[in-house]
C-alpha cells in the first residue's frame, strides 16, 4: 500500500512540475466556463434551465484530455528505461499499475472538481434539481476512471508516447461513435449491442440522475479489465 501511495504521489507531482497540468487546467476551465455562461445566457430565452449540455460537453473534453494525461504513464518509462528501475525494486505489476492509475485519475478528478463552482452558483441563485447534477458528477468520475484505465493500457503497449496517445484517442472516440449507431437504428439488435459496450451510452443513462447499478458495474468491470490487461502486458516482459 505504501508503495502505491508513493508511486501515485510521484505521478501526481510530475503533472504539476510540467506545463501540462496548467495548460490543461486553463483550457478546461475556459471551455467549461464558456459553456456555463452560454447556458445562463440562453436560459433567458429558453425555459427549463438545465445543466445536462454542460456535462455532455465535459465528457467530450475528457475524451480529448485523457490521451494527454495518460500517454506518458508507461510508454515514457519504457522509452527512458526507467521501467528497469521500477521492476528491479520490490514492486509488483499491480502496485505499479494501480499507482499510475490513481495518479492520473486523481489529476482528472482535480479537473472535474474545478467545475464544482457551477452547481454552487446554480443551487444558490437558481432552482435546479440537485439529483441529476450529482448523478452527472458520479458519471463523470466513472468516465474518467474508465478512460484513464484504457489510456494506461494503451500506454503499456508501446514505447512511443505519440502512438499511445493516438491509440487512446482512437479507442475512446470509437467508443463514442458506437453510441451513435443506436441512435440511428434504435431497433436493430446489433446496434443496441454496440451501444451497450460504449462508455457513453452508460454515461448518458446516469446523466439524467438515474444512477443504475448496471451502469456502475459496467464501469467498474471496464476499469478492472483494462487494469488487468495492463498488468498482463507488463508481466509479458519477463517471458518475451
Amino acid at each position: 500500500m505504501n508503495s502505491i501511495t508513493q508511486l501515485f504521489s510521484k505521478e501526481l507531482r510530475s503533472y504539476f512540475t510540467s506545463w501540462l497540468a496548467y495548460v490543461l487546467l486553463a483550457g478546461w476551465l475556459f471551455l467549461t466556463g464558456y459553456i456555463f455562461v452560454l447556458l445562463i445566457v440562453s436560459s433567458t430565452i429558453m425555459p427549463n434551465f438545465n445543466l445536462a449540455p454542460l456535462f455532455s460537453n465535459m465528457m467530450v473534453f475528457i475524451l480529448f484530455i485523457t490521451p494527454l494525461v495518460t500517454m506518458r504513464l508507461l510508454s515514457e518509462e519504457k522509452s527512458e528505461g526507467t521501467i528497469e528501475m521500477l521492476f528491479t525494486s520490490p514492486l509488483t505489476e499491480w502496485q505499479v499499475t494501480l499507482g499510475k492509475f490513481l495518479g492520473a485519475l486523481l489529476f482528472m478528478l482535480v479537473l472535474v472538481a474545478c467545475t464544482l463552482y457551477v452547481p454552487f452558483f446554480t443551487f444558490r441563485y437558481g432552482s435546479v434539481d440537485s439529483g441529476p447534477v450529482w448523478g452527472s458528477y458520479l458519471s463523470l468520475i466513472c468516465v474518467c476512471g474508465a478512460s484513464v484505465a484504457f489510456g494506461i493500457f494503451c500506454s503499456s503497449l508501446t514505447e512511443s508516447q505519440v502512438v499511445a496517445g493516438f491509440l487512446t484517442f482512437g479507442g475512446l472516440l470509437g467508443s463514442w461513435i458506437l453510441n451513435w449507431v443506436s441512435q440511428v437504428a434504435p431497433d436493430n439488435k446489433w446496434a443496441s449491442l454496440l451501444s451497450e459496450i460504449s462508455l457513453y451510452s452508460h454515461f448518458q443513462g446516469m446523466l439524467g440522475g438515474a444512477v443504475d447499478t448496471k451502469d456502475l458495474i459496467f464501469f467498474l468491470t471496464f476499469i478492472f479489465f483494462f487494469l488487468y490487461a495492463t498488468v498482463r502486458v507488463l508481466e509479458s516482459r519477463k517471458w518475451r
Binding site: 528505461g81 528501475m85 521500477l86 528491479t88
Partner: protein
Amino acid sequence: MIEVQNLGKYYSGFAAVDDISFKVNEGEILGFLGPNGAGKTTTMRILTCFMAPSRGTARINDQDILQNSLEVRRNIGYLPENVPLYNDMSVRGYLLHMAALRGVPRKKRPERLEAALDAGKLEDRAETLIGKLSKGYRQRVGIAQAVVHDPKVLILDEPSAGLDPRQRVETRQFIKSLSKNHTIILSTHILPDVQDICSRVVIISRGRIVAQDTLDNLETNQSATPRVQLRLKNPTGDAANKLKEINGVTRARREKDTDDESTFVLECAPGKDVREAAATLCVEQNWGLLELQRQGTSLEDIFLRSTTMEEHYGGETTPASESL
C-alpha cells in the same frame, strides 16, 4: 550468497545466455566480463528479477529469484547500464522516492539519503534537477540510488562509464570500500579496475562462461610465460647474454634501441620472479636501469584469449541483442 545454476535465456534462433553457473561468496567482488553482446546485461537483468530465465534459476541471499522475487529485490541494489533516471525530479527527491519504493522506513529515510548522497559525492547537487546533470553526475546518482536502501548485494553494470579519470578512481575506491559488508557483481570493460578490486572473475562470451577463477589462478594457469621488461640507458653489447644467465630466465632479447635507451625482454620459467636478480645485475654492470616491469599474463591477455578462442569455435555468428 549468490548462486547461479544453469541459467539460460533463449530467444527464437539464438541463446542470449546459455547454461551458465557460478557462485559469489559473501563479501566478494566478482568481475563479470565479456565482449559487448555476450549476455552480461541479460544475466544481470535476470538476477535482478527484471526478466525471467528460460531455464535454470539463481539464489540470492538464500532466496530464489523466481519464487521469492520481491524478497530478492529488497536486498539488491542495481545500477543498470545506461542509468535510466527521472529527469523531472531533483536528486534528493529521486533518492527519497527510490528509498520509499524499496521499503526504507520513513524514519530512516533522511539518514539513508545522507548516506546515498555521500556515496555518490552528490551533496552539492542534491537540489539540482536530474535532467540538468552531466553524464558523470547522472552516473553518480545511479550509484547513489543503488545503495540508498542499504542492500546486501550490489549488481553494477559499468559503474564507471562516462566518468572522468578522477571520478573513476573515486568510484573504484568506493566500490572497494563497499566490499566489506556487501557482495558485489561488477561488470565493466575497464580491466585495470577489475584487476584492482575484484577477487574473482567470470568471463562470458556468446552467452557461455569461458573462464572463471580467482585472478591469481587465472594469471598463473594461463600457460603463457611470464615476462619481465627492462629499459636500460647504456647497456653494453653483451647485456642480453648476461641477462640470460640469471637463474630462471629462459630467453633474453634486445627488443628496441633508441638514441638514449634500449628495451630488453626476459622470458622466465613459470613461477619464477627474476626481477630482483635482474635489478642487481643492472646496477652491478652500471647499465643505467630506467624501468623494470613484470608483464606476466595480464587480464587483458586472458580476456582476449578466452573470448577469441570461443569465437573461433563458436560456430555461426549471431548478433546478440540486448534490447528489451
